[in-house]
Amino acid sequence: MTLKASDISEGQEFSEVVAENLTRTQIVQYAGSSGDYNPIHTDEVYTKEIAGYPSVFAHGMLSMGATGVAITNLVGDGRLTKYGVRFVNQVWPGDTLTTTLSVESISEEDGQFFVDLVVSTSNQDGREVVRGAATARIDP
Protein backbone atom coordinates (compact mmCIF):
# COMPACT_ATOMS: atom_id res chain seq x y z
CA MET A 1 0.00 0.00 0.00
CA THR A 2 1.27 3.43 -0.89
CA LEU A 3 -0.15 6.80 -0.07
CA LYS A 4 -1.59 9.00 -2.83
CA ALA A 5 -1.39 12.81 -2.81
CA SER A 6 -4.92 12.90 -4.22
CA ASP A 7 -6.25 10.97 -1.22
CA ILE A 8 -4.93 13.25 1.52
CA SER A 9 -5.17 16.93 2.43
CA GLU A 10 -3.17 19.30 4.60
CA GLY A 11 -4.17 19.12 8.23
CA GLN A 12 -5.49 15.57 7.94
CA GLU A 13 -4.56 13.32 10.88
CA PHE A 14 -3.96 9.59 11.17
CA SER A 15 -3.60 7.72 14.47
CA GLU A 16 -2.41 4.24 15.35
CA VAL A 17 -1.73 2.48 18.65
CA VAL A 18 1.90 1.35 18.33
CA ALA A 19 2.41 -0.24 21.75
CA GLU A 20 -0.18 -1.58 24.14
CA ASN A 21 0.77 -2.21 27.77
CA LEU A 22 4.47 -2.18 26.83
CA THR A 23 6.18 -5.12 28.48
CA ARG A 24 9.61 -5.42 30.01
CA THR A 25 10.03 -8.41 27.73
CA GLN A 26 9.60 -6.26 24.63
CA ILE A 27 12.23 -3.88 26.01
CA VAL A 28 14.52 -6.91 26.49
CA GLN A 29 13.79 -7.92 22.87
CA TYR A 30 14.80 -4.44 21.73
CA ALA A 31 17.99 -4.56 23.79
CA GLY A 32 18.86 -7.83 22.07
CA SER A 33 18.07 -6.73 18.53
CA SER A 34 19.61 -3.26 18.74
CA GLY A 35 22.60 -4.24 20.84
CA ASP A 36 21.97 -1.45 23.38
CA TYR A 37 22.29 -3.40 26.65
CA ASN A 38 22.34 -0.37 28.94
CA PRO A 39 20.97 -1.88 32.20
CA ILE A 40 18.64 1.12 32.72
CA HIS A 41 16.43 -0.58 30.13
CA THR A 42 16.44 -4.17 31.38
CA ASP A 43 17.91 -4.42 34.87
CA GLU A 44 15.39 -3.32 37.50
CA VAL A 45 17.84 -3.77 40.40
CA TYR A 46 20.51 -1.58 38.84
CA THR A 47 18.00 1.01 37.63
CA LYS A 48 16.33 1.48 41.03
CA GLU A 49 19.37 1.23 43.27
CA ILE A 50 22.10 2.79 41.17
CA ALA A 51 20.59 4.90 38.39
CA GLY A 52 17.85 6.31 40.62
CA TYR A 53 14.78 5.69 38.46
CA PRO A 54 11.52 4.06 39.66
CA SER A 55 11.84 1.22 37.12
CA VAL A 56 13.51 0.27 33.89
CA PHE A 57 12.34 2.33 30.91
CA ALA A 58 12.31 1.85 27.17
CA HIS A 59 15.12 2.83 24.84
CA GLY A 60 14.34 6.09 23.07
CA MET A 61 15.04 4.19 19.88
CA LEU A 62 12.33 1.64 20.76
CA SER A 63 9.77 4.46 20.90
CA MET A 64 11.17 5.86 17.63
CA GLY A 65 11.00 2.41 16.06
CA ALA A 66 7.42 1.82 17.25
CA THR A 67 6.43 5.29 16.03
CA GLY A 68 7.98 4.39 12.68
CA VAL A 69 5.53 1.47 12.38
CA ALA A 70 2.65 3.95 12.14
CA ILE A 71 4.57 6.00 9.57
CA THR A 72 5.45 3.12 7.24
CA ASN A 73 1.93 1.69 7.63
CA LEU A 74 0.64 5.05 6.33
CA VAL A 75 3.14 5.96 3.59
CA GLY A 76 4.13 2.48 2.41
CA ASP A 77 7.35 0.48 2.45
CA GLY A 78 10.63 1.98 1.30
CA ARG A 79 9.05 5.41 0.81
CA LEU A 80 10.54 7.40 3.70
CA THR A 81 13.16 9.99 2.77
CA LYS A 82 13.52 11.65 6.18
CA TYR A 83 12.54 10.73 9.71
CA GLY A 84 13.66 12.51 12.86
CA VAL A 85 12.47 12.80 16.44
CA ARG A 86 13.17 14.29 19.85
CA PHE A 87 12.66 12.10 22.89
CA VAL A 88 10.63 14.42 25.11
CA ASN A 89 9.58 12.04 27.89
CA GLN A 90 10.52 8.56 29.00
CA VAL A 91 8.46 5.48 28.10
CA TRP A 92 7.76 3.06 30.94
CA PRO A 93 6.65 -0.58 31.16
CA GLY A 94 2.84 -0.65 31.01
CA ASP A 95 2.61 2.38 28.73
CA THR A 96 0.24 2.37 25.79
CA LEU A 97 1.54 4.53 22.98
CA THR A 98 -0.50 6.18 20.26
CA THR A 99 1.13 7.85 17.27
CA THR A 100 -0.59 10.70 15.49
CA LEU A 101 0.61 11.75 12.04
CA SER A 102 -0.57 15.11 10.71
CA VAL A 103 -0.20 16.09 7.06
CA GLU A 104 1.78 19.31 7.18
CA SER A 105 2.26 19.79 3.46
CA ILE A 106 2.12 18.02 0.11
CA SER A 107 4.63 19.05 -2.53
CA GLU A 108 5.76 18.12 -6.03
CA GLU A 109 9.28 18.17 -7.37
CA ASP A 110 10.03 17.10 -10.95
CA GLY A 111 6.82 15.09 -11.05
CA GLN A 112 7.49 13.29 -7.75
CA PHE A 113 5.09 13.99 -4.90
CA PHE A 114 6.19 14.21 -1.28
CA VAL A 115 4.32 14.46 2.00
CA ASP A 116 5.68 16.16 5.12
CA LEU A 117 4.23 14.73 8.32
CA VAL A 118 4.27 16.07 11.85
CA VAL A 119 4.90 13.06 14.09
CA SER A 120 3.76 12.81 17.70
CA THR A 121 3.50 9.82 20.01
CA SER A 122 1.80 10.07 23.39
CA ASN A 123 1.19 7.72 26.26
CA GLN A 124 -2.10 6.73 27.90
CA ASP A 125 -2.08 9.94 30.00
CA GLY A 126 -1.79 12.10 26.88
CA ARG A 127 1.82 12.92 27.69
CA GLU A 128 3.91 13.29 24.57
CA VAL A 129 6.95 10.98 24.49
CA VAL A 130 8.21 11.42 20.93
CA ARG A 131 7.89 14.49 18.72
CA GLY A 132 9.27 14.81 15.22
CA ALA A 133 8.81 14.96 11.51
CA ALA A 134 8.91 12.65 8.52
CA THR A 135 8.98 13.07 4.76
CA ALA A 136 8.00 10.40 2.25
CA ARG A 137 7.65 9.93 -1.48
CA ILE A 138 4.02 9.40 -2.36
CA ASP A 139 2.05 8.64 -5.52
CA PRO A 140 0.17 11.40 -7.39
Binding site: T2, A19, S33, S34, D43, G52, F87
Partner: protein, 158 residues
Protein backbone atom coordinates in the same frame (compact mmCIF):
# COMPACT_ATOMS: atom_id res chain seq x y z
CA UNK B 1 32.19 2.53 13.80
CA UNK B 2 34.92 1.71 11.35
CA UNK B 3 33.97 -1.96 11.43
CA UNK B 4 31.68 -3.46 8.83
CA UNK B 5 27.98 -3.82 9.55
CA UNK B 6 26.53 -6.75 7.60
CA UNK B 7 22.77 -6.36 7.12
CA UNK B 8 21.30 -9.83 7.65
CA UNK B 9 17.78 -11.17 7.07
CA UNK B 10 17.44 -12.85 10.48
CA UNK B 11 18.61 -9.70 12.23
CA UNK B 12 16.03 -7.61 10.35
CA UNK B 13 13.30 -10.06 11.40
CA UNK B 14 14.33 -9.89 15.07
CA UNK B 15 14.59 -6.11 14.94
CA UNK B 16 11.12 -5.75 13.39
CA UNK B 17 9.64 -8.00 16.07
CA UNK B 18 11.27 -5.95 18.80
CA UNK B 19 9.65 -2.70 17.65
CA UNK B 20 6.27 -4.44 17.33
CA UNK B 21 6.18 -4.37 13.53
CA UNK B 22 4.44 -7.37 11.95
CA UNK B 23 4.84 -6.11 8.37
CA UNK B 24 5.74 -9.12 6.15
CA UNK B 25 8.13 -6.95 4.12
CA UNK B 26 10.65 -7.44 6.94
CA UNK B 27 10.73 -11.27 6.98
CA UNK B 28 8.82 -12.90 4.12
CA UNK B 29 10.95 -12.82 0.97
CA UNK B 30 8.22 -14.43 -1.19
CA UNK B 31 5.76 -11.72 -0.21
CA UNK B 32 8.38 -8.97 -0.35
CA UNK B 33 9.35 -9.91 -3.93
CA UNK B 34 5.79 -9.07 -5.05
CA UNK B 35 5.93 -5.53 -3.62
CA UNK B 36 7.31 -2.27 -4.98
CA UNK B 37 10.42 -2.80 -2.85
CA UNK B 38 11.01 -6.10 -4.76
CA UNK B 39 12.45 -7.81 -1.72
CA UNK B 40 12.95 -7.66 2.01
CA UNK B 41 14.03 -4.26 3.31
CA UNK B 42 14.97 -3.11 6.81
CA UNK B 43 12.76 -0.93 9.04
CA UNK B 44 13.67 2.79 9.00
CA UNK B 45 15.45 2.72 12.37
CA UNK B 46 17.43 -0.48 11.72
CA UNK B 47 20.86 1.22 11.60
CA UNK B 48 20.48 1.66 15.37
CA UNK B 49 21.59 -1.99 15.45
CA UNK B 50 25.00 -1.06 14.03
CA UNK B 51 26.18 -0.94 17.65
CA UNK B 52 26.17 -4.77 17.54
CA UNK B 53 29.17 -4.52 15.24
CA UNK B 54 30.96 -1.69 17.06
CA UNK B 55 33.82 -3.45 18.80
CA UNK B 56 34.36 -0.77 21.43
CA UNK B 57 30.67 -0.16 22.17
CA UNK B 58 30.38 0.53 25.90
CA UNK B 59 26.77 -0.59 26.39
CA UNK B 60 27.43 -4.26 25.60
CA UNK B 61 28.96 -6.62 28.17
CA UNK B 62 32.43 -7.74 27.10
CA UNK B 63 33.34 -11.35 27.81
CA UNK B 64 35.65 -11.57 30.81
CA UNK B 65 35.26 -7.93 31.79
CA UNK B 66 33.26 -6.40 34.67
CA UNK B 67 29.80 -5.15 33.67
CA UNK B 68 28.08 -2.23 35.36
CA UNK B 69 24.68 -3.96 35.57
CA UNK B 70 23.58 -6.06 38.56
CA UNK B 71 24.82 -9.52 39.52
CA UNK B 72 25.43 -10.43 43.15
CA UNK B 73 25.27 -6.72 43.86
CA UNK B 74 23.27 -3.89 42.27
CA UNK B 75 26.19 -2.89 40.11
CA UNK B 76 29.20 -4.83 38.95
CA UNK B 77 31.62 -1.92 39.19
CA UNK B 78 32.90 -0.08 42.24
CA UNK B 79 32.47 3.50 41.13
CA UNK B 80 29.42 4.77 39.36
CA UNK B 81 29.12 8.20 37.82
CA UNK B 82 26.35 10.43 39.18
CA UNK B 83 23.08 10.91 37.37
CA UNK B 84 21.87 8.53 34.76
CA UNK B 85 24.86 8.49 32.49
CA UNK B 86 23.98 9.31 28.92
CA UNK B 87 20.50 9.39 27.45
CA UNK B 88 19.33 9.77 23.89
CA UNK B 89 17.79 13.21 23.20
CA UNK B 90 17.25 13.27 19.44
CA UNK B 91 17.68 11.05 16.39
CA UNK B 92 17.32 12.10 12.76
CA UNK B 93 17.71 10.00 9.62
CA UNK B 94 17.93 10.89 5.97
CA UNK B 95 17.40 7.93 3.63
CA UNK B 96 19.16 7.87 0.30
CA UNK B 97 17.89 4.31 -0.12
CA UNK B 98 16.53 1.60 2.18
CA UNK B 99 18.69 -1.24 3.46
CA UNK B 100 18.43 -4.83 2.23
CA UNK B 101 19.80 -8.15 3.47
CA UNK B 102 23.24 -8.60 1.92
CA UNK B 103 24.23 -4.96 2.25
CA UNK B 104 27.51 -4.46 4.07
CA UNK B 105 27.77 -0.99 5.58
CA UNK B 106 30.62 1.03 6.92
CA UNK B 107 30.36 4.44 8.42
CA UNK B 108 32.11 7.74 8.81
CA UNK B 109 31.47 9.45 12.14
CA UNK B 110 32.10 13.06 13.05
CA UNK B 111 31.35 15.07 16.13
CA UNK B 112 28.86 17.91 15.74
CA UNK B 113 27.93 20.73 18.08
CA UNK B 114 27.96 20.68 21.88
CA UNK B 115 25.73 22.80 24.08
CA UNK B 116 24.39 23.02 27.64
CA UNK B 117 21.07 23.94 29.14
CA UNK B 118 19.62 24.10 32.65
CA UNK B 119 16.47 22.07 33.28
CA UNK B 120 14.15 21.97 36.28
CA UNK B 121 13.75 18.19 36.13
CA UNK B 122 17.36 17.01 35.76
CA UNK B 123 19.74 19.92 36.50
CA UNK B 124 22.40 20.82 34.00
CA UNK B 125 22.03 19.05 30.67
CA UNK B 126 25.06 18.56 28.44
CA UNK B 127 24.15 17.84 24.83
CA UNK B 128 26.46 16.53 22.14
CA UNK B 129 25.75 15.84 18.51
CA UNK B 130 27.18 13.07 16.33
CA UNK B 131 26.77 12.76 12.58
CA UNK B 132 27.15 9.30 11.07
CA UNK B 133 27.19 8.61 7.36
CA UNK B 134 26.50 4.99 6.41
CA UNK B 135 27.96 3.79 3.12
CA UNK B 136 27.24 0.51 1.36
CA UNK B 137 29.55 -2.07 -0.25
CA UNK B 138 29.73 0.12 -3.39
CA UNK B 139 30.75 3.12 -1.29
CA UNK B 140 27.39 4.78 -1.97
CA UNK B 141 25.92 6.90 0.82
CA UNK B 142 22.74 5.14 1.98
CA UNK B 143 21.76 6.78 5.29
CA UNK B 144 22.83 9.97 7.03
CA UNK B 145 22.15 9.92 10.77
CA UNK B 146 22.31 12.78 13.27
CA UNK B 147 22.15 11.81 16.90
CA UNK B 148 22.01 14.03 19.99
CA UNK B 149 23.01 12.57 23.32
CA UNK B 150 22.47 14.19 26.71
CA UNK B 151 24.17 13.70 30.05
CA UNK B 152 21.97 14.81 32.94
CA UNK B 153 23.30 16.17 36.23
CA UNK B 154 20.86 13.95 38.14
CA UNK B 155 18.11 11.44 37.32
CA UNK B 156 15.12 13.09 35.64
CA UNK B 157 12.36 13.93 38.17
CA UNK B 158 9.22 11.90 37.54
Amino acid sequence: MSEQFPVEAGHIMLFARSIGDKNQIYYDSDYASTTEAQGVIAPPTFVAASSQFDEGYSLRPKIGEPWFGSGKTATGVEKQEGGSGGLHAEQHYEYHRHLRPGDVLHSVVREGEKWERESKRAGKLKFSETITEYYDQNNELVITARSVGVVTERPIDQ
